[in-house]
Subunit: 342 residues, 2 copies
């Protein structure tokens, strides 16, 4: 009886959360959902973006499904003010979420939305595993006397755990991205990834590629990649670049894996205040986040694949919300996906 | 009477250098060329990749045109051995080449070679101005006790000069790329670029964009960009990503601008030992490097544009070397370009 902590959040978050729960319940009959306010919704109720009670419940759960946080109501420039995003930062820190997974799987029905030619996009199905709590974004930094610096730092232990996250997610090949011809952190990265591969994952193929070459190959030959594992900033740049292969960030899910506790699953899109409450939000990103929860949070590959396949088929039959040029409602898209599951 | 230092270098370098000189002489009748061995050619003659005499002559020139350096003959793993690339490193250091310019202008006749859909590529004409001697690639680094670090460092003076290089190359808009929501170097970068803009280039439009968003927009809307100015590593990644929009690195030219001395112009392609001496190398990258020399080295925009337009027209009429699936020789392509100039 896996226990899912559901944090619908703000804006369209609660609307698309309903869709994801319906789809998850249709594909798995043993899930329980426990809902908690987060972000602006929690600020309104409790004056904080995530209460200690909610955090304790999240920590005790098997996986966390998050909608979206924030909105104009809580926008403020006041330093020290309570902000919706603090809920997410608190979750990341408290759950030790060090690996961000961004699957790039252009949906067949939407191939034409890609900036790339169809023959390059067909069959692309890659996963970018980005280190999320180290590297250039977390090292020492400062500015003094007209000179600024930032530090990229990695320890062996940090690289070992993200390497394992990458190999564990791969069926046949991992591409490790670094800049080992220049950077010391990249040379350590390559050394550790190579050792973890030899010691623990000898049956997976491993290749190393420089970050600038990776940025080229993502466009020139995206089908080449299965799992990419890389440093925080490289992953930030490459995952956004790769996302664009699908044509839009609008329907992409993402997973953040933790240490010992539950992992976090959420759509890449935001709270979309302009369409909130109208029942017309596209629920696909949230439904696909549910699929990631099944795959990476509960280890249920077959159920995850069933959800993804149902989404593909529903779209193949032509249903589209407004962001895709259609007129379907959130509920209609959800129904269409549910129909493909039964 | 501008004096051009010509360093044909190795492999196909001398073959394509002949083409570029012919085209430059056809479009400008007042250039003098002084040739010097560099790279492997200089090692064979003098035991060093760039002699002091050649360096002195280069420093006294108005602009430097380089073919390609290196080849299997001089490949070695011996530490301390003389290597062809040392010629280039010496040139960069001695000339203080702190700005690398990579124009991205897909050639109309080759639009179909792009991974992107034609309607996105049509009319793309951008210039990436990359800081080349600072940032993450040149800061302090080290590895100790299972922990490695690299440092990204910038000073106000370094940012000021690269910002000026960017604004000077722009007709109407500069896009400055940073990660100012996270990095101290980026916040200093944004501050200095904003000040140089306000004080010295108020008639050019300036926009700031984060590096991950830039990686997306380069694919989704490449026509948006005119001049991009950015940090060394960001520029390394983004310029290679953007190059791929043209379908191949094979015909791209690049310029490296110096402080007070001459600037350096060269094709992005290498010395291509497999086809050396056969007279079938594609000379377009080198000819377009000559166009950059006219534009950025001598300030002759009209002559530069004439060369680029002649290349477009020659390709439009169908002439292709083997790398593009054709059978034309280096000399035939050169003739075809020359014909469009007269
Ligand atoms: Mg990003
Ligand atoms: Mg590069």
């Amino acid at each position: 009886m896996p226990n899912i902590a559901l944090l619908p959040g703000d804006g369209i978050g609660p609307e698309v959360a309903v869709s994801a729960v319906a789809v998850l319940n249709a594909v798995a009959d043993d899930l329980t959902f426990e809902e908690h306010p987060a972000g602006g919704a929690a600020i309104d109720l409790h004056g904080t973006a995530l209460t200690d009670e909610a955090l304790a419940a999240v920590k005790a759960s098997d996986a966390v499904l998050l909608g979206a946080l924030g909105g104009p109501k809580w926008d403020t420039n006041e330093p020290g003010a309570v902000r919706p995003e603090q809920g997410l930062f608190k979750l990341r820190a408290e759950l030790g979420l060090y690996a961000n997974l961004r699957p790039i799987r252009p949906l067949p029905a939407l191939y034409d939305a890609s900036p790339l030619k169809r023959e390059l996009i067909e069959g692309v199905d890659m996963l970018i595993v980005r280190e999320l709590t180290g590297g250039l974004y977390y090292g020492e930094r400062g500015t003094k006397d007209g000179r600024a610096f930032d530090t990229m730092v990695y320890t062996v232990a940090e690289i070992e755990r993200i390497a394992r996250a990458g190999f564990n997610a791969a069926k046949s090949r991992v591409t490790s991205v670094d800049k080992a011809n220049v950077l010391d952190t990249s040379r350590l990265w390559r050394e550790v990834v190579t050792r973890i591969h030899a010691d623990e994952f000898p049956n997976i193929e491993l290749e190393h590629i420089l970050v600038d070459a990776a940025a080229m190959k993502l466009i020139a030959a995206p089908r080449h990649f299965e799992v990419i594992v890389t440093e925080n900033m490289f992953g930030d740049i490459l995952s956004d670049e790769a996302s664009m292969l699908t044509g839009s960030l609008g329907m992409l899910p993402t997973a953040s894996l933790g240490g010992t506790g539950p992992s976090l699953f959420e759509p890449v899109h935001g709270s979309a205040p302009d369409i909130t409450g109208k029942g017309i939000a596209n629920p696909i990103g949230m439904i696909l986040s549910g699929a990631l929860l099944l795959r990476h949070g509960l280890g249920r590959e077959a159920q995850a694949a069933a959800v993804e396949s149902a989404v593909d088929k529903a779209l193949e039959k032509g249903i589209r919300t407004g962001d895709l040029g259609g007129t379907a409602t959130t509920a209609e898209v959800t129904e269409a996906v549910l129909k493909e599951l039964t």
